[in-house]
């Protein structure tokens, strides 16, 4: 099905789902872009800016589609710059401050492993415009996964200091990974309509791939914490998202409609 043949009953759930996908990409892209000019060395600085650009590209495509599905005339820019924190649907994992380089890399690795599996599955989506974006995004996310996996090995199996920092980032981030695979009514509706994949089949694959790289990186898989962070998909965020938006949205809020 496409925009014309989409069942109106599915629109609210699909809009919500596209916001989730688009907001994950947008917020992670913004965090990555914060490294521009601050990378540990020139090539890595360029690499992180490239990854940020890919994420913004995915966000633009997904949020444009979200606006079309919603049918209220909102553009990707409207959705990115004119919503408040409680209207954002990204997981908390992507909004956490960028931390040190190890923290950024570990988060990138955990997310890219998830995104590669998700976009691969979404290529089979019954909603054709989403399947098209997923096919493109999948190609690009594979580079992210290769880049971050390489770094996981360098940091984990590197010096005592790099190992300590990577392990500490991993321990800190682990409680934010449960949210990636959460299933609620929105997702169930779309899985039933064959628009979204069954997350229960993706999670074990994610876990297996993550553990393989962690082993090679001589890092220890954290124990599952008693509490997994949750709420981002329903607009409950950490305090960090508001600060991020204050910076990201400043120009459009202060000078509405400004262009250059």
């Amino acid at each position: 099905m496409n925009l014309e043949t989409l069942d109106d009953a599915l629109r609210p759930a699909l809009f919500e789902y596209l916001l989730r996908l688009g907001d994950d990409a947008l917020i992670l892209g913004h965090r990555l872009s914060e490294w521009c000019g601050h990378g540990p060395y020139l090539e890595e600085d360029i690499a992180l800016a490239n990854l940020a650009l890919d994420c913004l590209g995915h966000a633009e495509a997904l949020l444009t589609l979200a606006g079309e599905v919603e049918g209220q005339g909102r553009t990707a820019d409207d959705l990115a710059f004119l919503r408040d924190a409680y209207d954002f649907r990204n997981v908390q994992l992507v909004e956490l401050p960028r931390g040190d380089f190890a923290f950024t890399i570990v988060r990138q690795f955990l997310y890219a492993t998830y995104a590669c599996l998700l976009y691969k599955a979404l290529q089979q989506s019954a909603f054709e415009p989403l399947a098209g974006i997923a096919a493109k995004a999948h190609k690009e996310m594979q580079y992210h996964l290769r880049h971050s996996s390489e770094w996981m090995r360098c940091l984990g199996d590197g010096t005592e200091e790099s190992h300590r920092r990577a392990q500490s980032a991993l321990d800190e981030l682990w409680m934010y990974t449960g949210e990636l695979f959460e299933v609620d009514d929105t997702l169930r509706t779309l899985t039933e309509a064959r628009i979204a994949p069954d997350m229960a089949t993706l999670q074990p694959k994610w876990r297996e791939q993550v553990e393989t790289v962690l082993r090679e990186a001589t890092l220890t898989v954290p124990e599952d914490p008693p509490y997994m962070a949750t709420g981002g998909r329903h607009g409950h965020h950490t305090e960090h998202l508001g600060h991020l938006l204050a910076e990201m949205q400043f120009l459009q809020r202060a000078y509405p409609g400004a262009q250059w």
Binding site: E43, N50, A61
Partner: protein, 166 residues
């Protein structure tokens, strides 16, 4: 004008980042349709976040308006996703002459980029666009634009860019 002639006109539109190539030989233009007075042009981004796409869209409109078409609509399509295999042989040779190592054809059964050690996951050697030597190494998987990686030639001691095969 026929769609074929419109396509020919579009060869005037260059990729702003790689001005030796036009958008037709890069495989960015996917379809041209004439409906009444309106020209519809389907283009596909090389990378979703490529900032050159906006410039390219504007250049398409400008070029066709100069040929007398008042209504030009550019559509961005994602399916099938762009691949370097759509680049013509002529375009590859132009890239090489420009100092950018062109992408090799993707192997039909190219393995997915899985998280293996980079030395294993890496593809065939990339010949230096200046001296042709295969004694080259990647210095960064990312370059000045989303589509390129950075390499260094051990034989002629030149850094060079490589257009990634996707």
């Amino acid at each position: 004008m026929t769609p074929a002639e419109i396509l020919e006109a579009l060869t005037e539109v260059r990729d702003p980042e790689i001005p030796v190539l036009n958008i037709v030989e890069m495989g960015i233009v996917r379809d041209v349709r004439l409906e009444g007075d309106t020209v519809h042009v389907d283009i596909t981004p090389t990378y979703t976040g490529c900032p050159a796409m906006r410039t390219i869209e504007a250049a398409i409109v400008q070029t066709l308006q100069a040929r007398g078409f008042q209504q030009v609509v550019v559509h961005k399509v994602f399916r099938e996703p762009w691949t370097t295999d759509w680049m013509t042989d002529e375009a590859r040779e132009k890239l090489r002459a420009y100092g950018i190592a062109p992408p090799p054809p993707r192997a039909d059964e190219a393995p997915e980029l899985i998280p293996l050690p980079f030395s294993v996951a890496r593809g065939p050697a990339v010949p230096c666009p200046f001296c042709g030597s295969e004694q080259t190494r990647q210095t960064s998987a990312f370059g000045a634009t989303a589509c390129k990686a950075l390499f260094f030639c051990e034989a002629c001691q030149q850094p060079f860019e490589y257009f990634k095969a996707i």
